[in-house]
């Protein structure tokens, strides 16, 4: 399921990678195709989909990831994919009973906090923000980090 919330200058989306829910979700996000839900510039508000609070079915780890990144990075765009379902067959995941369903995430973050930093520095920033979660159930984080300029987002508002 895709839940979206627009707040101030950013839009973030969480995408559940399970195939069937992704398809359903993309219908609901007015006219945005699957590939377009990945990075959403701030000026494109999905006001019709705006909700005051995040979906109740989001797991605790995902909520923590979102709130930490929002407060530390003030991202122009933040997309969180929960890929755990794709990795549920791994031996370590099976040993944990399929895991918590919150083991593998991929994040796409657009933030000017990344300005002037190498990819490794950006990744280390995010890892240190999420170090507690990585010590616990969070197993894997795939990261795509861009500044607003790199993402092609105009700094001037339209």
């Amino acid at each position: 399921m895709i839940s979206c919330c627009s707040h101030a200058q950013y839009i973030y989306c969480t995408v559940d990678s399970e195939e069937e829910t992704l398809n359903k979700g993309s219908e609901a996000v007015h006219g945005l195709h699957k590939s377009q839900t990945r990075v959403l510039p701030a000026f494109r508000r999905i006001s019709a989909m705006a909700t005051a609070s995040p979906s109740p079915s989001l797991g605790p780890i995902e909520s923590v990831i979102r709130s930490k990144l929002l407060s530390s990075l003030q991202p122009a765009a933040l997309v969180i994919h929960n890929d755990s379902y794709q990795h549920r067959h791994h031996a370590p995941m099976r040993a944990q009973d399929g895991g918590s369903g919150e083991t593998h995430f991929s994040l796409e973050i657009v933030s000017d906090e990344f300005k002037g930093k190498t990819t490794m520095q950006r990744h280390r920033m995010i890892y240190s923000l999420l170090s507690e979660e990585l010590d616990q159930g969070l197993h894997s984080l795939s990261l795509k980090t861009k500044t607003r300029a790199e993402a092609g987002i105009d700094t001037a508002s339209t």
Binding site: T119, H123, Y127, L134, S142, K144
Partner: protein, 155 residues
């Protein structure tokens, strides 16, 4: 081909710790003994290219590790210049390398003893051409220009 595994140091984690000892286990897992650190230091310097991965190049056990191996393969890194360590075969190495590199995920690539990054970074560098430059600069692979010159001469 190029398989290697790091034998565990004398220092050992008490993996039988009960749930009530989770806190101390986390602390224990983060602690890297001098000996373990020295052993990992030797490992990262043991070969021009060192990859800590899950599984082996022939049988990767994780998509990210597999991608890392494939990228290095694409650049035709010669087997004699590359060593891989299977962290799944050694749980102390698995936690030790994370502490050593201050990097929480596997795979981890070292080139000439210097940490390059994980799968995402590797793929990004591959796409931008940075990886090839790095491998050439560290004498892991020959410069492409030389090869094309040779081809032109023989054609």
């Amino acid at each position: 081909m190029f398989r290697a595994s790091l034998r565990s140091p004398i220092f050992s984690l008490r993996s039988s710790a009960a749930q009530s000892l989770i806190a101390s286990r986390v602390i224990a897992a983060r602690y890297l003994s001098q000996e373990a650190r020295a052993q990992i230091q030797n490992a990262v310097e043991s070969s021009p290219v060192v990859l800590f991965m899950k599984g082996t190049p022939d049988l990767p056990e994780c998509g990210f590790s597999r991608a890392a191996v494939q990228v290095l393969d694409l650049h035709r890194v010669p087997p004699e210049k590359m060593k891989t360590y299977n962290v799944l075969a050694d749980s102390e190495l698995r936690s030790g390398i994370k502490e050593f590199s201050d990097w929480p995920t596997i795979p981890q690539l070292y080139v000439n003893g210097e940490f390059v990054g994980g799968c995402d970074i590797l793929l990004g560098m591959h796409q931008s051409g940075e990886l090839e430059n790095l491998l050439v600069a560290n004498n892991v692979i020959p410069k492409v220009e030389e090869e094309t010159e040779v081809q032109a001469a023989s054609a």
